[in-house]
């Protein structure tokens, strides 16, 4: 499965993401600059990495979400292409309306940079099929605005639909997210947004490989 990484000014986790995808897929992903208006047909997985696009001006991800490339990402997603947004990438996906809810300032008002535990709340998605339902994995987080919010009606809907895919486990919620939500998918299940950084836990040199299966699932390298 061919992967592409979207590049925007101010992102700083793009190199980590490219290294992770290269390691897992065996070939480097295509990189696509923000001003591009189309994404090649053979791309089946699009990844928006983390960082601080446009310096987080206005709101995190707000300006990036309105750049030309996001129109192309949306069109691809509507046709079934898999999309993953990590951290700022998640913020961009909610700002673009491709995922429900919003990400607000951490309830502690502090930037958090540490390891948390994540529960696989739904392993029946193309992103989590290589994990067991309820499995607890380790994952680093690093963000200031990861406090997931959705109004009560939206929350009921995404919980009922199984769109909550990852939750902070064992009291490790670092940001005050409602229902301990760390990652969600869209209704169709082909767009994933998550605050933690699985790309930073994929080789033994990182101190663990818990994040690897997420990309292996997304790239179709493992049987569910």
């Amino acid at each position: 499965m061919k992967a592409a990484v979207i590049l925007l000014p101010g992102l700083n986790r793009d190199r980590d993401m490219i290294a992770a995808l290269t390691d897992i897929a065996g070939e480097p992903p295509l990189t696509i600059w923000q001003t591009e208006t189309s994404i090649p047909d053979d791309i089946e997985l699009i990844v928006i990495p983390g960082g601080f696009s446009y310096g987080d001006y206005l709101r995190c991800g707000a300006i990036a979400a309105r750049m030309p490339v996001m129109k192309a990402v949306r069109e691809k997603a509507e046709n079934g292409t898999r999309v993953i947004g990590v951290c700022n990438g998640f913020q961009i996906l909610v700002e673009s309306g491709m995922l429900p809810g919003a990400l607000m300032r951490n309830s502690s008002l502090k930037f958090v940079c540490r390891e948390v535990e994540l529960e696989i709340a739904n392993n029946k998605t193309v992103f989590t099929s290589a994990y067991a339902q309820g499995q607890i994995i380790r994952c680093p987080v690093a963000h200031h605005d990861g406090n997931y919010f959705a109004d009560a009606a939206t929350l009921d809907l995404i919980e009922a639909n199984g769109q909550v895919v990852l939750r902070y486990a064992n009291g490790t919620n670092p940001n005050g997210s409602v229902n301990d939500i760390a990652g969600i998918v869209n209704k169709a299940g082909n767009v994933l947004g998550l605050m933690p950084h699985p790309e930073n836990l994929i080789t033994a040199a990182h101190g663990g490989t818990d994040g690897r299966a997420l990309f292996e699932s997304a790239l179709g390298l493992v049987d569910a």
């Binding site: 206005l58 309105r66 909610v94 429900p100 309830s107 502690s108 008002l109 919010f149």
Partner: protein
């Protein structure tokens, strides 16, 4: 030319940790009568048009498309 101000505030019921921190800080400074503080944003926009109705419509569209995240925020438009 038309000058306008767009004010963006968090919707009622949405937790505002920054507003809370400011509220506590005001208490710490001795302002004892502060019941609640909600933080927002102000955008002063100058439009190169004389058509007030058109300006108001455009400002409303700006609020909806970019200036506010309507999932969590409300906005108000004031034209001078």
């Amino acid at each position: 030319m038309i000058k306008a101000r767009v004010t963006v505030t968090l919707k009622n019921g949405v937790l505002d940790p920054q507003g809370k921190a400011i509220e506590h800080a005001l208490g710490g400074l001795g302002f004892s009568g502060v019941g609640q503080v909600r933080q927002g944003k102000v955008f002063d926009v100058v439009l190169e048009t004389a058509d007030r109705a058109q300006a108001e419509a455009e400002l409303k569209a700006m609020g909806e498309k970019l200036l506010a995240n309507t999932v969590i925020e409300d906005f108000a438009v004031e034209v001078e």
